[in-house]
């Protein structure tokens, strides 16, 4: 019997005519691992929430949602709580108690188990998840990845038969995200729990899952194996927006019009490419043909800055630590960013990337060295000058800047202190709404927007300050691949207007494609700065998937389009 069945399910939210779900038919078998993808707002969350009695949104539901043949709404409370687990996006908001061990037992407490029984189950789960070392810790000492693992574990401890996850890795950095996904795979393989999750980052999840569901505007576009789904998304006249979210290997495969089984992992991609190139008589490293200019034109890459422009951000030998007795976070950071440049700082967790950003914005004071922005020393007494049409920073959580009740007013609020006439202000706001492509959502409440839209609204609010230098901390976090491209477009437009973009990111693919220069941060200092091509082709592990696939033939290709382009050329 199927674990979950959606039969002709349609749904519209209370007070809205628009159908959020349209005639959904879907069956999930026991122990199946299924991923649901689709653009933000396509109905993924609405679909997932129908599976949990207490979380189902208010509105009009037609059709049936069945759990092992029983209607979800008729399940006993106890059954629904214990057998269907639900993990949400934000790691922080889901945690209720102050200690790891207590959080783990929360669900069991609800079920009314005895202390001895709880102790045993909690012990089991902590061992399964490898949480022994942080079992006694306070929640506030945990990293985001650990928090999300804890959320997962505190649900697994109730031994659910079905696990539902709504974009669980959206707020995590890539390393924590792959840990999390690996744990999910382990749960599926070793415990046989059926898993249904929605996800944007398909790179890693695709090789793990049994089935993929692609949604578009409330209906299911395709429900098939990952390989066939990849082929489906790549085929057709106009590429589906979700094509951009496919694993790099699948993208290269489809760009080269590959036939047969679609490769999904780096290993499979390499073998397939080797086979293909060998048949065409291409072996060994291919040196670049043609001039640099031609190459750039061919790869649609913007020419990088020349290195002769004015310095916009200067970081000179900056040392910083939080406490007198603590360890140094920044150990002599030196960096110069040019005017109008798009600069990305990459690096692992906790190496000091975000701290560097804070030092540039003057949110922390280095104990040695200094930073200069647009020729102004970053110091307390210069703050007014700095933030006036010069420097702006987009915070990691867009909520941190929202104060008003509509998107429009939110942007107007940003202009509150400007000496402009009301008419001018309104015009500026309208322009910004258009630039951020939020014009249709002008009257929406900021908190009703999706993650990507909130991000753009916050960015719009920051940009109304007309900064010459824009600082961003992980701007691509939680964005779907389609929004990511849109963000890149917007930032590109700004750059052409002369805005310097300085961002800290974990997103290698994004930086490889759009940045002018990238820097690798490690252990409190910058260990390498270069253009993306030189940067990524010089690294062997810390590089893009496309580069890892094709480096033995085309070491200088770092994004999928480049790999595909060079392959085609070599085979001609």
């Amino acid at each position: 019997m199927e674990a979950i069945v959606f039969r002709d399910v349609s749904f519209s939210y209370a007070g809205s005519e628009k159908k959020a779900l349209k005639k959904i038919n879907l069956a999930i078998h026991p122990s199946e691992f299924t991923v649901i993808c689709g653009r933000s707002g396509c109905g993924k969350s609405t679909l997932l929430r129908q599976l949990k009695k207490n979380l189902a949104p208010y509105g009009k539901l037609e059709g049936e949602v069945l759990y092992y043949g029983k209607e979800i709404q008729n399940l006993k409370e106890r059954e629904s709580a214990a057998e269907i687990g639900f993990v949400q996006q934000n790691p922080d908001n889901q945690i209720v108690t102050d200690k790891v061990w207590h959080e783990l037992a929360f669900g069991l407490e609800s079920l009314g188990l005895s202390n001895a029984a709880m102790k045993r189950k909690v012990a089991e789960m902590a061992s399964f998840f490898g949480m022994q070392n942080w079992f006694q810790k306070s929640i506030q000492e945990l990293s985001g990845g650990q928090k999300q693992l804890l959320n997962l574990a505190s649900i697994m401890v109730m031994q659910p038969k079905v696990l539902i996850l709504d974009e669980p890795t959206a707020q995590l950095d890539p390393i924590a995200a792959s840990d999390f996904l690996a744990t999910l795979q382990k749960i599926n393989r070793e415990l046989g729990t059926a898993i249904l999750l929605s996800e944007h980052r398909l790179e890693e999840i695709f090789p793990m899952v049994d089935r993929v569901v692609v949604m578009e505007e409330g209906s299911i576009l395709i429900h098939d194996t990952p390989r066939r789904t990849a082929q489906f998304l790549a085929a057709g006249e106009k590429q589906n927006p979700m094509f951009y979210g496919l694993p790099s290997v699948a993208k290269i495969f489809s760009l080269l019009k590959g036939k047969g089984e679609c490769p999904l992992s780096v290993r499979e991609g390499r073998l397939w490419l080797e086979h293909k190139l060998e048949k065409a008589g291409v072996t060994g490293k291919q040196t670049e043909k043609g001039s640099e200019k031609k190459r750039i034109a061919r790869q649609k890459r913007r020419p990088g800055t020349t290195g002769k422009g004015n310095t916009s951000i200067r970081i000179r030998d900056v040392w910083f630590r939080y406490q007198r007795a603590g360890a140094d976070i920044l150990k002599g950071v030196n960096l110069e960013v040019e005017e109008g440049e798009w600069f990305c700082v990459l690096g692992g967790n906790g190496v000091g990337k975000s701290t560097t950003l804070k030092a540039v914005a003057g949110l922390i004071q280095p104990y040695r060295g200094y930073t200069e922005v647009g020729g102004i020393r970053v110091e307390k007494k210069n703050q007014k000058q700095l933030f006036h049409k010069c420097l702006a920073m987009l915070p990691q959580s867009p909520q941190a800047v929202f104060t008003e009740i509509t998107a429009e007013e939110e942007l107007l609020e940003a202009l509150y202190h400007w000496p402009l006439s009301d008419k001018e202000k309104v015009r500026k706001v309208e322009d910004m709404l258009e630039l951020m492509e939020l014009d249709e959502l002008a009257k929406s409440h900021p908190y009703d927007l999706s993650g990507g839209e909130q991000q753009r609204l916050a960015l719009g609010k920051i940009l109304l300050q007309e900064p010459k230098i824009l600082l961003m901390d992980e701007p691509t976090k939680g964005l779907d691949p389609f929004f990511k491209r849109k963000l890149a477009d917007i930032l590109g437009k700004l750059q052409r207007r002369g805005v310097t973009i300085f961002m800290v990111s974990h997103d290698l693919e994004f930086c490889a494609e759009y940045a002018d220069r990238c820097a690798l941060f490690f252990d409190g200092e910058i260990v390498g700065v270069d253009t993306p091509v030189a940067f990524f082709s010089g690294n062997s592990f810390y590089t893009t998937v496309a580069n890892r696939v094709a480096r033995q033939w085309f070491p200088e290709a770092v994004i999928c389009e480049e790999v595909a382009g060079l392959c085609e050329e070599a085979m001609m």
Binding site: F86, V96, S110, N115, K381, Q383, T403
Partner: protein, 322 residues
């Protein structure tokens, strides 16, 4: 080489071992900390309970001395300075206040503005200062031994919902603080609330920041309540999980503490330790009950310290004296 290092370390550690213990502070490593919360609570309950009603100079001296030592054992060398400072300050302050404002007592020392300043009033002020300081010092130790977890557990036995609420409060306070920092930084980066802004502007920004915090937190709490419901919160018959075990050791300790505690409370209640400051100082002549009370209370005062020192000695013996 390894043996050599091991030997060296042992020698060095044993030489100054006991002193180091009072220098660095044991904190949550203290042996007494590892006892069942009920044992901790009853021990401190009796100590502080009796201390609050003690006016006998001998008792006060013991409470202060034992308290200062225990607080140094738990918090390290620095506690000495703060404790002695506090005791001295209180002594001077309360003795003066009481001496100047209370004119009871038969032994007049001198007249100030035609008001009597009496020896009894000064002494009573001093005794009250000692009492207050003693209670504060012991509460400081209590705070270390009774962690929030233990509190939550003990409350949870009586009122389960209170335990959960407390636990949630301990969770959300640091979360709010982190959020507020992010909001403040976000506003700063928009050029609000920075140095150079006007006072009015800064106050307005502050209220704006608070309102963002409230909106954000309310929004987030929807997700929290979803997560609670998803894990069956609200089902009947909720239990409360804890990690504590009541072992034989705890039973013995509880019995001893109970006996000592009951003896000292009875002794005090019977007025065997009574002392009157007004009109003249009168101390009840000590009888056998006085000594029993004194002995059992003294035993209570040094019990946590004895347990900790014994634990520490055992530890060193086990690991450094093989």
């Amino acid at each position: 080489m390894v043996l050599y290092l091991y030997g060296r370390r042992r020698a060095w550690d044993m030489d100054v071992g006991e002193y180091r213990m009072f220098q660095d502070g044991l904190g949550e490593q203290a042996e007494f900390f590892s006892y069942h919360p009920l044992v901790n609570l009853s021990c401190f309950g009796f100590i502080i309970g009796v201390a609050m009603f003690s006016t006998h100079p001998l008792f006060l001296a013991l409470i202060l001395l034992a308290g200062s030592m225990y607080s140094a054992l738990l918090k390290g060398r620095r506690a000495w300075r703060t404790n002695v400072g506090m005791i001295l300050f209180m002594m001077v302050f309360m003795t003066l206040i009481n001496g100047l404002f209370t004119h009871n007592g038969v032994t007049v020392l001198f007249y100030l503005n035609q008001n009597r300043v009496t020896l009894e009033a000064l002494l009573f002020g001093m005794a009250s200062a000692a009492l207050l300081a003693g209670v504060i010092i012991w509460l400081g130790c209590f705070q270390i031994i009774m962690s929030s977890d233990k509190f939550i557990y003990l409350f949870g036995r009586v009122v389960p919902i209170l335990a959960m609420t407390l636990s949630m409060v301990f969770r959300f306070l640091p979360l709010f603080k982190a959020r507020f920092t992010e909001i403040h930084n976000g506003q700063k980066c928009m050029g609000r609330n920075i140095s150079g802004s006007s006072w009015i502007g800064r106050i307005r920004s502050f209220f704006k920041e608070v309102s963002i915090l409230i909106a954000w937190s309310l929004e987030a709490s929807i997700e929290t309540s979803d997560s609670m419901e998803a894990r069956g919160y609200g089902l009947r018959g909720r239990t409360s999980f804890h990690l504590y075990r009541f072992s034989r050791r705890d039973a013995v300790a509880l019995a001893v503490i109970g006996l000592l505690g009951v003896l000292s409370v009875t002794g005090c209640a019977m007025g065997k330790t009574a002392i009157y400051y007004y009109p003249g100082i009168w101390i009840k002549a000590p009888d056998i009950w006085f000594f029993i009370t004194l002995a059992s209370y003294l035993a209570l005062l040094v019990l946590p310290m004895a347990i900790d020192i014994e634990g520490e000695r055992k530890w060193r013996q086990l690991y450094f004296e093989t």
